[in-house]
């Protein structure tokens, strides 16, 4: 009878294991919870004055907003896109979804994939720095007509080089998201330099449009 008892015990154990812990499922503990602090805190969430570095976290999920970042004052401001919209007095770069523009700056995509390595290199890379261009078909403000191929765009400046930080492949559905993971050097109009790297474009729940940007400002050698 031993095998019978053993078998019945095993079945009982299995039943208890499977059905009693939770009617709504088991082993939920193997998953992670989204990072709670990412839900509410936006702006310059980390700053290291000693190394002139830090992290900016912004909510760029809206198609109808520009989020302006000012490295000089460590401030962030969001504005609704409209014909009457007045840009802030002082800002350095601005983000709309994954699109980027600058306040009269020039941008270079470097071969560096970490801020520490570019800092360790001891020099500001040379190359073909790219200024903003005026566009009429880059800044999508209304996606509702996408299914009929009728997107609405806002006319705007756009920095093609800095926007390379995330390539969104819309040839497939849903789109493919390919971050470059590279460091971008920005020569601001006051001749100071910032180095930025897009660390993440999602929040911890995987919602896209939440941009985590690591930076060094001022970037000096």
């Amino acid at each position: 009878m031993k095998p019978v008892i053993l078998f019945i015990k095993l079945i009982m154990l299995g039943m208890i294991f499977l059905s009693f812990p939770a009617c709504n499922g088991i082993l939920g503990g193997i998953y992670d919870e989204p990072l709670a602090e990412e839900k509410n805190e936006f702006g310059f969430i980390e700053t290291d004055e000693t190394n002139n570095s830090g992290t900016v976290y912004i909510d760029a999920t809206s198609y109808t907003k520009w989020t302006y970042i000012d490295f000089h004052t460590l401030t962030v401001d969001s504005l609704e896109i409209s014909e009457e919209m007045q840009e802030p007095e002082n800002w350095d770069i601005a983000i709309h979804r994954y699109d980027a523009k600058t306040n009269g700056a020039f941008v270079l995509e470097t071969g560096f994939t970490g801020l520490s390595t570019i800092k360790a290199s001891g020099e500001i890379p040379e190359g073909g720095y790219v200024s903003d261009e005026w566009t009429t078909n880059k800044i999508v403000v209304d996606m509702s007509g996408m299914m009929d191929g009728k997107l609405k765009y806002a006319e705007s400046y756009y920095n093609r080089e800095l926007s390379k930080w995330l390539f969104v492949d819309t040839s497939t559905m849903p789109p493919g998201y390919n971050p470059s993971n590279k460091v971008y050097v920005i020569r601001l109009k006051d001749n100071t330099v910032a180095a930025v790297r897009l660390r993440n474009f999602m929040n911890a729940s995987g919602v896209k449009g939440y941009m985590t940007i690591d930076y060094i400002y001022p970037f000096e050698v």
């Binding site: 009617c23 992670d32 559905m173 849903p174 998201y177 971050p179």
Partner: protein, 643 residues
């Protein structure tokens, strides 16, 4: 004897039976051996009637893939297996490179997949996760086409695929297998099973992976994502005595897909169950079972190293089934099920969850009126608490044998209740539009009429089946101008008519050939949101040669799959159902050459050349084969205990 064997092939209507190599020894998986037909005469199937019946006596046409057939086809994904033999089955990609089934006009949610008779939780874009259907340690796969809701309830609208696990007859069986193929495809697995007479156990572990595959030309997808899958299953059976059998089982499944650089899609399942089967006497038996299946989806965020769950479907099932045989010819089957269906999903507002209770009762009478005539009839009542949907599904079928011919005719009702997803979805589709659920949905229903005839003479077998389906209230997403988004809606009637034809030959000396053809015609009213996506003509072909000796056997086979082009109409706008344009998806053929060799009945070596004629689509549509040309594979399977 020859006549009996041929009759068995004929009556079954089974592609594997009329395929000579499929008649190989089930135990060894070796090549054709005429003695193996004796085994096949006793082949028992259960899916068509939910009571064990010999294939030759099944009033419901059942196609069977035996264990040796599965091993010989040498594939990892069940889709490849089904497509290789059954014309009219097409596994393609839908949005986000999710696998989608079309079985002669019926989608993934209209074909019910079962493992040992148990439902499978979870879905993505209306299809279950087919990667869960590990083909290791499978005794056979039974497939019935047409509605079967009178026995299986919701989802059995277009057919049922039932995967039956293997129960080892050997005291000890230890198998290791490994397969490598072009494009960094790998599969490694192992099984250990033992049978002490009363206690038997089967443990199986399988790992499969494929690297990212870049397409050669432009298309809907420029690459196929890399992925890896782990499948573990254990089944323990104990026969308390000749009348009482207990079964316990458990399983774990994990799949990871490299869909984005910054995140990976993960899919998991935890499942288990217990079943007791008691035979009161020769005339009646009772089966009581509990099963649990949880299917989770999560996103692994590479940067933060977080694995965040966003979907969980948990199903608890209780099942009772009673068979009573009045005089060994007439069988009454009655049963009932209860299911608790819980769903949490990222597609619900604020990742909410919903719960539904499902209950049903059914009865079936299988009456062998005369030696030539069998009549089967059944009725099932299903109730879904949240949708407040109840449905009656009837069935009546006749089987008539005359000389070398068998004729079958049937009417069967099918239905599919609206799912929790279809009722409560509130999903922002990539910030493009919203998709909304609809709590007023009615159940999809279908009426299936089928007629078939089979004829066998000596080495030749022919079968022809014609069917007609009237599908009403099919559920699909429809653009809703007021909501400015998509919403699940019932649509008008669809008619699906088709013909399946099969011819096969088995000549003495080990040569065999088979040709199967399927014609499908979907008729959908103009202005309906859904348009036909089913190829009208499809065929599969096979020619092979095999011999076996005491210590060595071989089988060489050429398999072909031929699909016609599809010319259909598509709406020029997704928000209006007025203007259409004609589109044509090209037809294609794919051929596979494989050689299986068996040494000392314990070592199987199989090498294959797939896409033999190097077909590469000019443009990769969703329904194109995502192949970059000819591929090669080599695999070995060793039964350690045979040495």
């Amino acid at each position: 004897m020859q006549k009996i064997l041929v009759a068995a092939l004929f009556l079954s209507g089974c592609c594997s039976l009329i395929n000579p190599v499929s008649a190989q020894s089930i135990d060894t998986g070796t090549v054709l051996d005429s003695a193996a037909y004796d085994t096949l005469l006793d082949e028992i199937v259960v899916t068509g009637t939910r009571s064990p019946k010999m294939l030759k006596n099944s009033p419901v046409i059942t196609k069977v893939f035996t264990e040796s057939e599965i091993r010989k086809v040498d594939v990892t994904h069940i889709g490849e297996l089904l497509q290789s033999e059954l014309p009219g089955i097409e596994f393609t990609y839908s949005m986000n490179q999710q696998v989608s089934l079309n079985m002669q006009g019926f989608g993934g949610n209209s074909v019910l997949f079962l493992v040992d008779g148990e439902r499978i939780a979870g879905e993505t874009l209306e299809n279950i996760d087919y990667s869960r259907l590990n083909l290791d340690n499978v005794q056979r796969i039974e497939i019935i086409k047409g509605a079967a809701s009178s026995l299986y309830g919701s989802n059995a609208v277009g057919g049922v695929v039932n995967i039956i696990s293997k129960t080892s007859a050997e005291p000890l069986h230890v198998n290791f297998n490994s397969r490598l193929a072009t494009n960094n495809e790998q599969r490694h697995g192992g099984s250990i099973s033992f049978n002490t007479g009363r206690l038997n156990s089967a443990t199986n572990v399988q790992y499969a992976s494929a690297g990212e595959l870049k397409m050669k030309n432009e298309g809907v997808y420029s690459k196929v994502y890399g992925n890896r899958t782990v499948n573990v299953k254990e089944r323990l059976q104990y026969n308390l005595d000749d009348n009482f059998k207990l079964t316990g089982r458990g399983g774990y499944f994990f799949r990871e897909r490299d869909s984005q650089v910054s995140s990976k899609d993960r899919y998991r399942s935890f499942n288990g169950g217990a079943k007791g089967e008691y035979a009161f006497h020769e005339k009646s038996n009772l089966e009581l079972a509990y099963s649990f299946d949880q299917y989770d989806k999560s996103s692994f965020l590479v940067e933060d190293r977080l694995d965040v769950r966003n979907y969980s479907n948990v199903q608890h099932n209780l099942k009772g089934l009673y068979n009573y045989s009045f005089n060994s010819k007439n069988i009454l089957t009655v049963g009932g099920d209860y299911m608790r269906d819980y769903l949490m999903s990222y597609q619900f507002k604020d990742n909410a969850s919903y719960l539904q209770h499902v209950a049903d009762v059914f009865a079936q009478y299988d009456w062998t009126a005369t030696e030539k005539l069998n009549i089967i009839s059944g009725l099932r009542y299903d109730y879904f608490s949240d949708a407040d949907v109840s449905h009656l599904s009837p069935k009546i079928g006749l089987m008539f044998k005359q000389g070398r011919s068998t004729f079958r005719g049937s009417y069967a009702g099918g239905f599919r209740a609206p799912t929790l997803k279809e009722m409560y979805m509130s999903f922002d589709m990539a910030s493009v539009f919203m998709i909304y659920g609809n709590q007023d949905l009615k159940a999809e229903s279908s009426h299936n009429f089928s007629l078939s005839g089979e004829y066998t003479r000596q080495y030749y077998n022919f079968s022809l089946t014609g069917y007609h389906n009237i599908v009403d209230n099919r559920i699909t997403t429809v653009w809703n101008t007021d909501l400015k988004g998509m919403q699940y809606m019932n649509i008008a009637k669809i008619n699906i008519t088709g013909i399946d034809a099969n011819a096969s030959v088995r000549l003495p000396g080990g040569i065999g050939a088979r040709l199967s053809y399927a014609f499908t015609h979907e008729r959908i009213e103009k202005g309906q949101p859904l348009l036909s996506q089913t190829r009208p003509h499809a065929a599969t072909a096979r020619i092979e040669y095999g011999k076996t000796w005491k210590k060595y056997g071989f089988n060489i086979a050429l398999n072909g799959r031929l699909l016609s082009k599809l010319t259909t109409h598509e709406y020029t706008s997704l928000t209006s159902y007025e203007e259409m344009e004609e589109v044509t998806y090209p037809g294609y053929t794919i051929w596979k050459l494989s050689l299986m060799q068996t040494f000392r009945q314990g070592i199987n070596l199989i090498v294959g050349i797939d896409n033999l004629f190097n077909y590469v689509p000019d443009y990769y549509y969703s329904n194109s084969p995502y192949t970059t040309g000819t591929t090669f594979s080599a695999g070995v399977s060793i039964d350690i205990n045979r040495f």
